[in-house]
C-alpha cells in the first residue's frame, strides 16, 4: 500500500527543484524521507533540527541572581531530571527569564506577577530550605490543584510558575523531541494509517 516516489515523480521534482528557491533543499529532504520506512519511527527524529539558541551561556536579564536560583530549583522540582532529561537540561529558567524580560514592552503586568511570585518564595526562604523542605512546600502550595476545597496563599505562585515551566519544557527540543518523542514536522510519502484492528471497533 505504501507509495514510493516513482521515477516520474522524481523527474518532476528535480525539474521543480532547479526552478524554485529552496527547492533543492526540499528535494533532498523529501527523497530522504521517502527512504525511511514510516514505521521505523526513530529514523524520523533526524528531521528535528538542533535548538539554534545558545542557552548554555545565557545570563539572566530580568531575575536577580537569587530569584533566578529559586526559580531554577522550583522548575527542577516540577520537571525533574530522572530517567529522562528535565527542566534543567531544557534550560527552562533561562527561557522564562528571556520571555519575562521581553514582556516589558507590551505586557509589563507580566513582569509584576513574576516579581511578586518570586518575592513570595523569597519570603518563605525558599532558597535556604533543604531539597526535601522545598518539595514539601511545593506540595502544600499545589494542594488546591487536586482539591479545590483547599486553599494556600502560594497557589497563585505555583500556578504561574507551573504553567510557564510546563510550556517552556514541552516546547523545548529536550521536552518535545527527546522526552515526548514527537514525530511531526517530518517528510513522509504516506500518512501512517491506523492498522490496529482493536481501534476499529468500540
Amino acid at each position: 500500500m505504501r507509495r514510493k516516489i516513482t521515477r516520474r515523480d522524481a523527474g518532476w521534482l528535480i525539474a521543480q527543484a532547479a526552478g524554485v528557491a529552496g527547492g533543492a533543499d526540499f528535494f533532498a529532504k523529501w527523497t530522504q524521507g521517502a527512504k525511511h520506512d514510516v514505521h521505523q519511527e526513530h529514523a524520523m527524529h533526524s528531521t528535528a533540527p538542533p535548538d539554534p539558541h545558545d542557552w548554555r551561556s545565557y545570563r539572566p536579564q530580568f531575575f536577580s541572581g537569587d530569584e533566578y536560583r529559586i526559580l531554577d530549583a522550583f522548575s527542577a522540582i516540577l520537571i525533574p531530571s530522572d530517567d529522562t532529561p528535565g527542566a534543567r537540561e531544557a534550560h527552562v529558567t533561562a527561557f522564562i527569564d528571556f520571555v519575562v524580560k521581553a514582556a516589558a514592552e507590551y505586557a509589563p503586568e507580566m513582569q509584576d506577577r513574576w516579581r511578586k511570585a518570586l518575592g513570595w518564595l523569597a519570603e518563605q526562604n525558599f532558597g535556604s530550605l533543604s531539597a526535601a523542605e522545598q518539595t514539601s512546600l511545593v506540595q502544600q502550595m499545589a494542594a488546591p490543584e487536586q482539591d479545590n476545597s483547599k486553599k494556600h496563599p502560594g497557589y497563585g505562585t505555583y500556578r504561574l510558575i507551573k504553567d510557564m515551566v510546563v510550556h517552556a519544557f514541552y516546547t523545548s527540543r529536550v521536552g518535545l523531541v527527546d522526552v515526548l518523542e514527537y514525530k511531526g514536522l517530518a517528510y513522509l510519502t504516506e500518512f501512517p494509517a491506523c492498522t490496529h484492528p482493536e481501534h476499529h471497533q468500540v
Binding site: 518532476w12 521543480q16 528557491a21 529552496g22 526540499f26 523529501w30 514510516v38 519511527e41 524520523m44 528531521t47 528535528a48 533540527p49 539558541h53 522540582i77 516540577l78 520537571i79 525533574p80 530522572d82 529522562t84 528535565g86 527561557f95 528571556f98 520571555v99 519575562v100 521581553a102 507590551y106 507580566m110 511545593v138 499545589a142 487536586q146 507551573k162 504553567d163 510546563v166 510550556h167 514541552y170 516546547t171 523545548s172 527540543r173 518535545l176 522526552v179 515526548l180 518523542e181 514527537y182 514525530k183 511531526g184 514536522l185 517530518a186 517528510y187 513522509l188 510519502t189 504516506e190 500518512f191 501512517p192 494509517a193 491506523c194 490496529h196 482493536e198 481501534h199 471497533q201 468500540v202
Partner: protein, 550 residues
C-alpha cells in the same frame, strides 16, 4: 489612465480563480492586492517551536495587541490592526481575522472543502425562516466539479444527501484516535468521513503531494495545499494577460454618469499616491466584508445598494469550545505521526434533515470534527494536576491518547440586525473609513451550540473516552473565520444586492465574489462554495462579454 478589460480586487481563493478563468478566456486582467507579494517557497518552511524566539507565542502581549488571532509562525502574513482597524459596539465584540498578502487567506486556511446541499440552499422552504438561495444544488454542482478537479480535494465518498460527494483524490487515512471515533460514530449512528481537504494525496497539476508535516496553517512550503500563489496564479500569469499590482489598497469603485463601473481608484501602500485605472468590468474579491466596505465607500449610501440591504445579514458560523480528554486504549502507545495531515474525522450534520424522528429544539444544523493522538505541544499538560517524575510520566503516557471533538461550524441564522456600516469617525492608515461591525448570537444559535455540546460528549463517551475538559462557551462571532453575508444574492432586486451570478442588480458590469453573497451560512465550510460561485459567475461574465451584453 491605464485601461484593462477586467479589474479584480483581491487575490485570495475567489480573486485567484477569477484571474485564472478570465485571463485564460483572453481578457486583459489587472489584479489589485492590498498586501505584498511573498515567495511562499522561501517564506514558508517547517519551523519547530524552539526555533522561534518565543516558541510560537510571540513577544508577550504583542500579538494580542496588534495581530489578534495569529501566532509567531504566521503573523507576518496577517493584518496589522494598527494599520487596519475596525470597530464594534463595546458590548458586541466581533473577531475579524484577516490577511493582506498575495493569495490572501488561502496561504493559511484550514483547507476544508465541502459542498453545500439543497438542505442548505433551500432551508427556508423547509422551516420557514429567512430566504432560500436563488440557486439549487443542480445549478452549482458542475462548478463544484470544476473547482475540485483543479484544486485537488482529498476525500472519501460518503453517500449522504446532506453532504454531496464530488471529484475526489484519495482520502488521507485516519490515525488511531480518528479510527476509534469513527467506530464510535458507527455505534451511535452518527455519520462520519475523513475531513475533506484541499490538500493533495498525489501529484496534481504540477503540484507535489502532501508530505504530512502538519505545518499547513503556517504556510505550506511545497504547495501541496491549495493556495492562489501555487495553484490558480501560475496558469493565469502564463497567459500573458495578467498585470499584478501588489501593495495597492483599493478605495473606490469608479462609476460613470450611466451608473456603470468604469474603473478603480487605489492608493499605493507605501507612497500613499492615489491612482485610477480604467476597466470595462470590475470584480470585487477582497473578502466578504472588505467587498462590502468598498461598495459602501464608493458612493454615499453604498454603490449597488438600491435595495438598502448592503451590509445587512452578516453571519459567521456558530463556534465555541469543544470537548477534550483522553482515549484510554491509546495510553502509553508508541508515538506516531498523528498530526501530520492536520485533518481529522468529520461528522456531517444530521439534525433537522428528516433522518432523526425527534425534532430538535432549534432550526438548522451543525457539523463536528474529531481527532487525537500526539499533537505537537501537549496542550493538556498545564492543567494536568501534579508535578515531579510522576507527573512527567503521566504526560508521556497520556500524550498519544489525547483526543478532542470540536464544532466545525453551526448555522448562524441570517438576521437583519447583524450588519456592518462605515464608521463615521475611524479611518485606516490610508484614510479609508473602516467598518463598524454589529453582530450578536440569537437564541437559536445558542440552542444549536448547546446541542452540539451534548452530542460531542455523547461521542466521547461512545469512544470510551475520559473527558478532562468540558466547559461550554460560545465563541465571539467571527472567531470561526467563516464570516459571510452583507451583500446577499437573490432573485428580487428589492431584497438582495446580487443576482445568482454574483453580479450586482444595479450595476451590470460589477461582480462581487466571495462569501458576501451567501444567503445562509449552512453548516459546511464555506470556501469551496465561494469558489464554485466564482467559477459560475465568471462563466456568465464571459458569456455576456461574448454576446456584447456587458
Amino acid at each position: 489612465m491605464d485601461k484593462y478589460d477586467v479589474a479584480i480586487v483581491g487575490s485570495g481563493a475567489c480573486g485567484g480563480w477569477a484571474c485564472m478563468a478570465l485571463a485564460q478566456s483572453g481578457f486583459k486582467v489587472v489584479v489589485l492586492e492590498a498586501g505584498s507579494h511573498i515567495d511562499t517557497y522561501k517564506e514558508f518552511k517547517h519551523r519547530w517551536p524552539y526555533e522561534m524566539q518565543f516558541r510560537g507565542a510571540g513577544q508577550p502581549g504583542f500579538l494580542r495587541k496588534y495581530f489578534k488571532g495569529s501566532t509567531e509562525y504566521n503573523y507576518r502574513i496577517m493584518i496589522d490592526d494598527r494599520e487596519n482597524p475596525y470597530t464594534t459596539a463595546p458590548d458586541k465584540p466581533f473577531a475579524w481575522r484577516r490577511s493582506r498578502v498575495l493569495g490572501g487567506r488561502t496561504l493559511h486556511w484550514s483547507r476544508a472543502s465541502d459542498r453545500f446541499s439543497d438542505f442548505d440552499f433551500k432551508a427556508a422552504s423547509r422551516d420557514g425562516f429567512g430566504e432560500d438561495w436563488p440557486i439549487s444544488y443542480a445549478d452549482i454542482a458542475p462548478y463544484y466539479d470544476r473547482v475540485e478537479r483543479f484544486i485537488g480535494v482529498s476525500a472519501a465518498p460518503a453517500k449522504l444527501p446532506q453532504f454531496p460527494d464530488g471529484v475526489f483524490l484519495p482520502a488521507m487515512p485516519l490515525n488511531c484516535a480518528e479510527s476509534i471515533f469513527q467506530a464510535a460514530c458507527r455505534k451511535i449512528d452518527f455519520p462520519s468521513t475523513p475531513r475533506r481537504v484541499a490538500q493533495l494525496t498525489r501529484m496534481w497539476h504540477n503540484r507535489p503531494p502532501c508530505h504530512y508535516c502538519g505545518n499547513c496553517v503556517n504556510g505550506c512550503d511545497v504547495g501541496a495545499m491549495f493556495n492562489t500563489v501555487v495553484s490558480t496564479l501560475p496558469p493565469a500569469l502564463k497567459t500573458g494577460n495578467v498585470t499584478l499590482l501588489c501593495d495597492s489598497v483599493v478605495s473606490h469603485v469608479l462609476t460613470d454618469s450611466e451608473k456603470r463601473a468604469r474603473g478603480i481608484r487605489y492608493i499605493e501602500r507605501y507612497s500613499n499616491k492615489e491612482v485610477e485605472i480604467g476597466a470595462l468590468v470590475v470584480v470585487l474579491a477582497g473578502s466578504s466584508l472588505e467587498n462590502t466596505r468598498l461598495l459602501l465607500n464608493s458612493e454615499p449610501g453604498g454603490l449597488a445598494n438600491s435595495s438598502g440591504v448592503l451590509g445587512q445579514y452578516l453571519m459567521d458560523q456558530v463556534s465555541g469550545s469543544g470537548v477534550s480528554g483522553f482515549l484510554p486504549i491509546l495510553k502509553n502507545a508508541a508515538i506516531r505521526n498523528d498530526d501530520g495531515k492536520a485533518g481529522g474525522l468529520y461528522i456531517p450534520n444530521f439534525t433537522n434533515i428528516g433522518v432523526r424522528p425527534k425534532p430538535a429544539k432549534f432550526i438548522r444544523g451543525y457539523a463536528m470534527s474529531a481527532t487525537g493522538g500526539a499533537m505537537g505541544i501537549p496542550a493538556f499538560a498545564p492543567s494536568l494536576p501534579g508535578f515531579g517524575s510522576d507527573y512527567k510520566k503521566r504526560v508521556k503516557s497520556l500524550y498519544p491518547s489525547f483526543a478532542r471533538v470540536w464544532l466545525s461550524g453551526g448555522e448562524m441564522l441570517a438576521r437583519k440586525e447583524n450588519y456592518v456600516e462605515l464608521d463615521p469617525q475611524v479611518r485606516d492608515k490610508w484614510g479609508i473609513p473602516v467598518l463598524k461591525i454589529h453582530c450578536t448570537h440569537c437564541d437559536n444559535d445558542r440552542r444549536l451550540y448547546e446541542d452540539f455540546f451534548e452530542r460531542a460528549q455523547e461521542l466521547f463517551r461512545a469512544a470510551h473516552g475520559e473527558i478532562s475538559d468540558a466547559k461550554p462557551f460560545l465563541s465571539t462571532p467571527g472567531s470561526l473565520i467563516h464570516e459571510v453575508g452583507t451583500c446577499r444574492m437573490g432573485n428580487d432586486s428589492k431584497t438582495s444586492v446580487l443576482n445568482s451570478f454574483c453580479q450586482t442588480h444595479d450595476v451590470k458590469n460589477l461582480f462581487v465574489f466571495g462569501g458576501g453573497c451567501f444567503v445562509t451560512t449552512g453548516d459546511k465550510h464555506p470556501t469551496l462554495t465561494m469558489m464554485a460561485l466564482t467559477a459560475r459567475g465568471c462563466d456568465q461574465l464571459i458569456d455576456m462579454a461574448h454576446k456584447g451584453d456587458i
